[in-house]
Symmetry: C2
């Protein structure tokens, strides 16, 4: 068996995406995306939460960079940005299995559940078509109180 003398490591999707836009791979960017990949989809983190998760595990990243990186990762379609209207916006790994899910939010404790519903997707499409708008995205937020919070 022949062992190559040098490894040509495949650039990650992040790295190649950055490259063809003249952007650079940095440890900060790798760490932010890795965090989301490690915790998996279905978790919705604020910028502050991302920041404290990284710094409390010894990484040195500034909050400004977190904001810049999250915005970049959203533009690159690695992440999805949610406006759940309680506290700051939240970010989640964009899962290509469930790209169009919606959120049920407990306004007391923040617990957030996901659900999918095609009628909702179609309602958005229909509304845009009706008025001649070009659809970008539609999001249904259901504000509610969860069982644990229901009695005070």
């Amino acid at each position: 068996m022949i062992v190559p003398t040098s490894y040509r490591t495949h650039p990650s999707p992040l790295e190649s995406g950055l490259r063809l836009d003249g952007k650079r791979m940095t440890p900060q960017r790798k760490r932010v995306l890795s965090l989301f990949e490690e915790i998996g989809s279905g978790i919705h983190l604020s910028a502050e939460e991302v920041h404290s998760k990284l710094t409390s595990s010894g990484e040195r990243v500034s909050l400004a960079t977190i904001y810049r990186t999250l915005k970049l990762l959203v533009k690159m379609t690695f992440l999805n940005e949610l406006d759940l209207s309680e506290g700051g916006n939240r970010f989640e790994l964009l899962s290509h299995d469930h790209p169009d899910h919606h959120h049920l939010i407990c306004i007391r404790c923040g617990r957030t559940e996901e659900f999918e519903n095609n009628e909702v997707i179609n309602a958005g499409k229909a509304a845009a078509k009706n008025f001649g708008f070009k659809l970008l995205e539609s999001s249904l937020n259901v504000r509610a109180v969860c069982p644990l919070c229901i009695n005070k």
Copy 2:
């Protein structure tokens, strides 16, 4: 014909709503609600817009009072608060004919169209029921680009 010597004017819905809560009727509160009633439903104003509409027509109201009054009128169900996620939150007269409409927003110029859709309402109800949450409200925001904004 007998002309009464004193008129007992009916208290407005605003006034009676305030009364039974120990709250007081003020010119500011009357003006803010009147503004929405005059422009009619289907108009979505930010706090700043409410403020400048009132002050530019000669009224003296502070922005802090606008915010306080808007919140109060929402709690009293005269107004509805929208989180359209571009710029600040917006407020509209709560029309009892179309209580549960949704919004299609042009992210370029802010133009906002309304639409109703029962499947969406049901989707929210179903999601809440499924997870045992007590539903408060569900809002579908469709972000899009309007015909006038579509070519740059």
